[in-house]
Symmetry: C2
Subunit: 168 residues, 2 copies
């Protein structure tokens, strides 16, 4: 098996956010996708070790912020390489509380989606959460950041908790 073949799968890059008792948290995710159109449902695959996983599991809601292509690495690092157990990732970040009850990151986002979890699948290290979309809006006209942009243009690294991690 050549892991390079797996890297040919295309993804975007998102902040998936949720809350617990009013405390917001979010993380970078690449595996976000629409699974049905009637009703509109989306899925997100989150690592069980992540605090956002715990928040989505317990609150049953999540939001997805679609990042713009120009999103700085410092912003991605804040949500992707540090844990919300250690600091408040939302401190100083432009966000609002959405219709679903989930926090929604507006900063560097060109669109957002809010969903209520209707099903979940245990896939060993991760959980695949499927949610019915309760709100979705466009926030800007920019191009979405893709995982390929992130890796090849920004020389981005992948944390060990990602769905696509293969090696150091």
């Amino acid at each position: 098996m050549n892991p390079e073949a797996l890297y040919r799968i295309s993804y975007g890059l998102y902040v998936v956010s949720s809350h617990l008792d009013g405390r917001p948290n979010g993380q970078i995710a690449n595996t976000v996708f629409q699974v049905t159109s009637d009703p509109v449902m989306v899925a997100a695959c989150l690592n069980k070790q992540n605090l956002t996983h715990e928040y989505v599991s317990k609150s049953g809601v999540f939001s997805v912020s679609v990042l713009e292509r120009q999103t700085p690495m410092t912003f991605i690092g804040r949500f992707g390489f540090r844990s919300g157990r250690d600091f408040d990732k939302f401190d100083g970040v432009d966000f609002f509380w959405g219709k679903s009850g989930a926090p929604v990151v507006k900063e560097h986002a060109i669109a957002y989606i809010e969903a209520r979890v209707v099903d979940r699948m245990d896939v060993r290290s991760h959980t695949l959460f499927v949610g019915e979309v309760v709100e979705a809006e466009v926030l800007g006209e920019g191009e979405p950041l893709t995982y390929a942009d992130y890796h090849y243009l920004k020389k981005g690294k992948t944390p060990k908790t990602a769905t696509v991690y293969f090696r150091d």
Copy 2:
């Protein structure tokens, strides 16, 4: 809810193939993604109306061919807008029988992945198949075709059975 927000999610474009009693069939899909890295597992979301859905359900194996950016619309149309119930989609197409037992489309593919189904989730109109990867190889050095390329560069249409269909 603004459906345009959902269109900001990034996808690639793939031929997902399977077989029934040695008869190959395949379909275009955009919702293919890696869900875990240890073991390596991928998921594909297929419409229950599609013949490939029936073949994957019954055989328990599928392959994913990652299409190259230059894939002609006629090729996409063959796999995406016609049913394998009406004709043999693989007739005259460059493919081989993979390690998993699934047929693998080589034509216009820059990489392929083969998987054995280990779990499935019913998501109303579609089924989300999760498979453990048994083989994955790179076939060429081109860029992958993205769903954005397909829609915006090729003015592609979306069939009603897609995960992301919204309107005529």
